[in-house]
């Protein structure tokens, strides 16, 4: 049994974690059950394991990040790995070095894995094809953010016992959100129903092709769902105005206690962070009992430990270019 399971994992795209799209369901379940054990480790007196004591990991961030970066770094340190951090603002990238050169230079210092965040969609896939290292996508532009989707689905599983059959609403800036895309893939693979909700200008054209429902009415969507994942309005990616004002957005698509109290049932609130308090959700909602935002952050470390631990075991020479 153990043998067969291992083979299944081996056959999947577990050499890298580039996106949820190419990840099969059995791998997702393996990541979850491994994360369960790491949660136990995090909550044990020592909070650490020496599992990756002989692995060196580079966190290469070409975009700002607080939570993802700290979460990855904590996960790496709790696994006993050696960590180097790299951010583009203080590096030779500003002198015109290419992505491949930057990474190859880091790798020649004997680094085993790279956690990459980059503003260009597909940067991780490109890199996986051209450099000999294991790549973990920590967000590539508006494309995917796989560990966020895994920790979101894991938090839903923790709350409800199972993701299958649950109704999940993803609300807000779908157009610019890598979290939304990864979440759609992940939740659908695990058998959940997904509805996207937001202003027309922030919902990509023909997104229904992915098998999701689209709604422009927040109250109806909230009434339908078990969980509402409220996405952040990404000012930094919005080069033109997609809605007249934040105030209008907040009144139509922001989640308030009044809107929650008007529902016939209690729903669970999620947010990938960082929260624009008073825009996507009010402070009251974010801090309420229905919110599992801080559990998401805690689960993020366990999920990233699981991903790193499983990926570190796959052999580099088996990578298919």
């Amino acid at each position: 049994m153990a043998n067969r399971k291992s083979k299944e994992i081996e056959s999947t795209a577990m050499q890298h974690l580039l996106g949820i799209k190419d990840l099969d369901v059995s791998s997702i379940h393996t990541i979850f059950s491994t994360a369960d054990q790491f949660k136990g480790v995090i909550n044990s007196p020592t909070r650490k394991t020496p599992a990756l004591r002989d692995v060196t990991i580079a966190n290469v961030f070409f975009e700002n990040s607080t939570r993802t970066r700290i979460s990855f770094e904590l996960a790496q340190k709790r696994l006993g790995a050696d960590v180097v951090n790299f951010s583009s603002s203080s590096s030779s990238v500003s002198k015109g070095e290419t992505l491949i050169d930057t990474i190859n230079n880091i790798l020649s210092m004997k680094v085993d894995m790279v956690v990459l965040r980059h503003p260009s969609p597909g940067a991780c896939k490109f890199l996986a094809r051209h450099v000999k290292s294991k790549i973990i996508n920590a967000g590539d532009g508006t494309h995917e953010h796989p560990t966020q989707a895994l920790l979101d689905a894991y938090s839903i599983r923790e709350k409800f016992g199972d993701v299958g059959g649950k109704k999940i609403a993803i609300v807000g800036d779908i157009l610019h959100s890598r979290v939304a895309l990864s979440n759609i893939y992940c939740l659908q693979k695990l058998g959940a129903e997904v509805t996207l909700c937001g202003p027309r200008s922030l919902i990509p054209y023909q997104i229904e092709e992915l098998g999701v429902k689209v709604s422009y009415n927040l109250q109806e969507t909230l009434e339908w769902c078990d969980v509402a994942n409220m996405l952040r309005i990404q000012h930094e990616r919005q080069d033109v105005k997609y809605f007249p004002s934040l105030r209008e957005y907040a009144s139509l698509y922001g989640l308030t206690m009044d809107k929650l109290n008007a529902l016939s049932k209690e729903i669970t609130i999620m947010h990938p962070g960082p929260i624009n308090r008073g825009v996507e959700v009010t402070s009251e909602v974010a801090d309420s009992n229905q919110s599992i935002i801080l559990q998401q952050v805690e689960n993020g470390v366990a999920i990233r430990m699981a991903v790193l631990f499983l990926l570190a075991q796959s052999k580099l020479n088996k990578i298919i270019h």
């Binding site: 291992s6 081996e10 491994t34 054990q37 599992a51 570190a312």
Partner: protein, 182 residues
Amino acid sequence: MAKPRLILDNAAIDLIISRFALQIMEDQASDEVVAIVGLQPRGVEFSRRIYARVKEFFPENNLLYGELDITFHRDDVGRGEQILVPKETYLRFSTENIKIILVDDVLYTGRSVRAALDAIVNFGRPKQVELMTLIDRRYNRELPISPDYAGATVDSRSTGEKVKVDWLDNDNKVWLIEKVKK
């Protein structure tokens, strides 16, 4: 492939379980707290049976019970062919200042036990740690580790052989089989 050889049948295993249960009780000092900790994945089948037998013989005894996964402490992470996936650690007590009896089915190279010794101190500093195994393959050790309680010893020096334990409801068996060549 040579025919698997039966080393222990159900009656023999049952006798060992009873013997171990009695030995644990005999060795326990009056004011001592003892915990049986089975090693995942295969040691737990054995440890559950021993715990149940102790409870059957001595229902009043305050023996503690836990299960320990050693995956994160192994020394071969990323070196083998297989991807290691952890099993559940179930340890609802502090190991601080108590006696721990680690239970596994087969003691072979000793590396799992080394990892278990590392893993167990995450839960506190035990007063004493002992090792209990159903089978002791005493000529194949790679580390200086030996059992305090051994059900049976297998003296095969060959590394081409494997000891397989079948845990079934009422028909437990231990086999010596030839390893399948890859």
